[in-house]
Amino acid sequence: MERIANAGNGGLVAELAAVIVENKAWLSEIDGKIGDGDHGVNMAKGFGRTAERLEGGESLAEALSVLSDVLMSEIGGSMGPLYGMMFSGMAEAIEGAEEIDAEDFGAMLQAGLDEVRDIGSAEPGDKTLLDAYVPAVDAYGKALAAGSGMSAALEAMCAAAEAGRDATIDMVAKVGRAARLGERSRGVQDAGATSCALILCALAKGTASRLSDA
């Protein structure tokens, strides 16, 4: 059965951070169209600081905890608490586990989603990061149920996150700053959904590259 080890795989979070830092300008540009244009800057600050603080030997759960702490306590804004809670949920779900198999990974995804929904007030369709996250979790679960292996399910998850992100283009924002724009928010993709898709795809890719089958 496909799985990854928890111990020693904190590097996955460093890869995640690298993807966010790399896309800093793009995220800010998207945010500037209907938001305040600081999404990339704040995300890069939080993820970048996390990367600096990781020493290299952390488990995946420990590294996710560091990421959560930095986001929660140093970043502020709305993304600080939202992503902070998401990664805290994920870390908690796999804390103490030796290995993470397909089912554990699904539980981890779900735990992150639960935390985001708990602290935020958005529903799917409101043009937020949920519109990337919710379909991604669904797609992952459905792929497994249909008998796919973990790596195939991870690919499905990433594809669904990106499709969900693109679907926000035609949505009208219902929460957050863009909500004040009403119809004018249509036609621009949501920055939160964009960063969420980046995160989920980096997570999928990093996990798939670490899979062992024994």
Partner: protein
């Protein structure tokens, strides 16, 4: 991962832009103008109008076949334009509209009425007190005019009534004008000319007439006809001038009549037996009206109009090209030659990198805080070594409710400028445009606590709400009672109060809450007063240029050269609507209209007025806006009891302003007057003794 190009976002805001007023709803004319006059490409036109390029090509073809694009019409139009320009320049007119002389398929008076209506629609403003004279052109203009966009207007009849059975009497003209624009009509309940000077004086002392005449001193605009003295003129038909040798001799030197007064060729008044018996506006009062619009045309009126212009009795003229040319000719000026050609205006280069005084952009907030904490060392200090949580030196004290404010950086002097005695006790500061995390908020809360609980006050943004909520929970579990009030004064952002953003109205809410706490009121009452202050605050912002973040030094979004962003927030978010750039008065009107609609004040109510720069707009422009805001409030009968102008809640270097009004009552006024001493807001104690 590269950004996906999306066809959906390409049309963007331009597509929604309306047709500029000068084109009415005529897309063919607009397209033709952009193509032939502005020299734009078909693709540019398609983008501006918001249609496909194919549609533009068919518009242009249609315009040619339907004769909209036609050399002879163009020449005629240009000629009218050059006559108008010459008249304006020579007589120092504020505005002049000259319609092409058409050659007669439509009576001149009707064309003048239509043109007059067009001019009046552009000139009239909400809150105006408009005098209306009499005559065929004035009545035709009133009849052609129709608008529902104006509020709080009074129309005043400026000449007494006449008995003649003509449709264009002074009373009929004023009534028709008032009906056309939905104004209150103030008649002049007396004859234009009475039998004796004694009777005139008696009548003018009667209270209805006296009150009506008093309104004449308050006119800010007047619409007038100009009558010629020729025997067949409307003046004779009107009953104003009785035929008879005595009158003819007395007024032999007069060439025209304006607002009931006879003037000679130089525009000077001609005295005769009628002046002492006339009831209506005096020439002195007329001269004091800032905008005096004459609508008159016809070659027979050239001497009369010329006299009115020479005498300065009118400073806006609506006439036709033949009459205009006649006036210029009579004045010894040549009618300007038509020279078709393009005046090109060089566009400013687009700002791609905004210059800023920075070292390392990432350090901008911390470096600014380091400076601010030193600058304001007499007011505040860091709570625990970090400048992200600051506490007032003279604020928190035992038994006093602590007031904690906070939010992102980039809004200076919001928020730290309001920390000090009588306002906020402590502040938490985040990164640029991003809420502080819970840590500094908790530090500020602990520092502000005097055992009576703490009020959290911040703008309604999801990030601030989440972070303050977490900090409040932590403070609560540490034994500090916390109440929260989110400010929601931005009228543009949502219909419902609780969904609105918090913008510059913040400052007045901080002031009221800080005063309540300084009076040692309990937490429940401080929170209730803060809520009341917020519920009665209304703000609208308008931006002309976007702001730029320290990290990017690029404009956050684009506002076109001829556009402005209405309902803009304080984070550089685009506003609620993009529209054509307006002048200061029209912009102020737009803002006042929306605020008054939301506030719905009664006659005699008081407001506090906060004129706020969003960063780069200078005080001079705020005062210009404020001037108009006050005119409108006066017209509505609302009193500006307190006012401030300056940088109070900004959005980095955004060019723009916001207007906040707090609907006052005695309690709120008392809270605003309570002394406070902070870096950015001070109210001196009233001297006693």
């Amino acid at each position: 991962m590269p950004p996906r190009s999306s066809s959906g976002s390409a049309r963007g805001a331009d597509a929604g832009a309306g047709v500029p007023l000068r084109f009415g709803d005529d897309l063919l004319l607009w397209a033709s103008w952009l193509y032939y006059e502005e020299g734009m490409t078909q693709s540019d036109i398609a983008r501006i109008i918001g249609v496909s390029r194919a549609s533009v090509i068919s518009y242009l073809a249609d315009a040619r076949t339907r004769g909209i694009v036609n050399i002879s019409i163009e020449t005629n139009r240009l000629r009218a334009l050059s006559v108008a320009r010459s008249l304006s320049e020579h007589f120092g007119l504020k505005d002049c509209l000259v319609i092409p002389s058409t050659g007669g398929e439509r009576p001149l008076v009707e064309s003048l009425g239509a043109a007059g209506a067009q001019a009046l629609r552009a000139l009239f403003r909400s809150g105006d007190t408009i005098g209306v004279g009499w005559g065929r052109s004035v009545l035709a203009a009133a009849k052609a005019l129709s608008t529902e966009a104006l509020q709080d207007i009074r129309v005043v009849q400026v000449t007494g009534s006449t008995s003649a059975h003509v449709p264009y009497t002074p009373a009929a003209c004023a009534t028709a004008m008032a009906a056309a624009i939905g104004a209150e009509c103030i008649p002049l309940s007396a004859p234009a000319i009475v039998s004796t000077p004694e009777l005139r004086d008696l009548l003018c002392r009667e209270s209805p007439v006296r009150e009506q005449l008093a309104c004449l001193a308050e006119l800010n605009r007047i619409v007038l006809g100009i009558a010629s003295m020729r025997p067949s003129s409307t003046l004779h038909a009107s009953g104003l001038l009785k035929d008879g040798p005595m009158f003819r001799d007395a007024y032999a030197g007069a060439v025209g009549e304006i607002a009931g007064h006879f003037v000679d060729a130089r525009g000077l008044p001609v005295s005769g037996p009628l002046e002492a018996r006339m009831i209506g506006i005096t020439l002195e009062d007329l001269a004091r009206v800032p905008q005096r619009i004459a609508i008159a045309g016809g070659v027979d009126k050239v001497p009369a109009i010329l006299a009115a212009l020479r005498g300065g009795h009118a400073n806006v003229l609506v006439t036709d090209a033949a009459t205009g040319a006649g006036i210029l000719h009579a004045e010894g000026l040549s009618v300007p030659q038509v020279r078709p050609g393009q005046e090109t205006v060089a566009g400013l280069p687009v700002r791609t990198r905004v210059k800023k005084f920075l070292n390392a952009p990432d350090e901008a907030v911390d470096e600014a805080l380091e400076g601010a904490v030193a600058d304001y060392a007499g007011f505040l200090r860091p709570v625990r070594g970090s400048n992200r949580a600051l506490v007032a030196l003279d604020g928190p004290r035992p038994g006093k409710v602590g007031v904690v404010i906070g939010g992102g950086a980039g809004h200076d002097p919001c928020f730290l400028g309001y920390v000090g005695r009588g306002m906020a006790d402590a502040v938490a500061i985040g990164n640029v445009f991003a809420s502080p995390p819970p840590g500094p908020i908790l530090d500020a809360t602990r520092a502000a606590d005097g055992g009576a609980g703490v009020l959290h006050l911040f703008g309604n943004y999801s990030g601030d709400v989440m972070n303050f909520e977490m900090a409040a929970e932590m403070a609560d579990s540490g034994g500090i009672a916390v109440r929260t009030l989110v400010t929601t004064d931005d009228v543009a952002s949502a219909g419902e109060r609780q969904a609105r953003r918090g913008v510059a109205g913040n400052v007045l809410v901080f002031k009221a809450a800080g005063a309540a706490a300084d009076r040692m009121l309990p937490l429940v009452e401080v929170a209730a007063l803060a809520r009341k202050a917020n519920d009665r605050s209304y703000t609208i912002g308008v931006a002309l240029e976007p702001c730029s973040l320290p990290e990017t030094q690029r404009p956050l979004f684009a506002i076109g050269a001829g556009e402005m962003e209405v309902g803009v927030g304080i984070h550089g978010e685009p506003g609620v609507a993009r529209q054509a750039l307006e002048n200061a008065d029209d912009t102020a009107d737009l803002v006042v209209d929306r605020i008054l609609t939301a506030m719905d004040p009664k006659q005699g109510d008081e407001v506090a007025l906060l004129l706020n720069s969003l960063g780069a707009t200078p005080l001079m422009e705020l005062h210009i806006i404020g001037r108009r805001v006050r005119q409108r409030l006066k017209a509505r009968g609302v009193v500006v009891a307190r006012s401030w102008a300056g940088h109070y809640c900004t959005s980095l270097d955004m060019v723009g302003m916001s207007v906040t009004m707090m609907h006052l009552d005695a309690e709120l006024k008392g809270l605003l007057d309570h002394p406070c001493h902070t870096p950015a807001f001070r109210v001196a104690p009233v001297a006693t003794g």
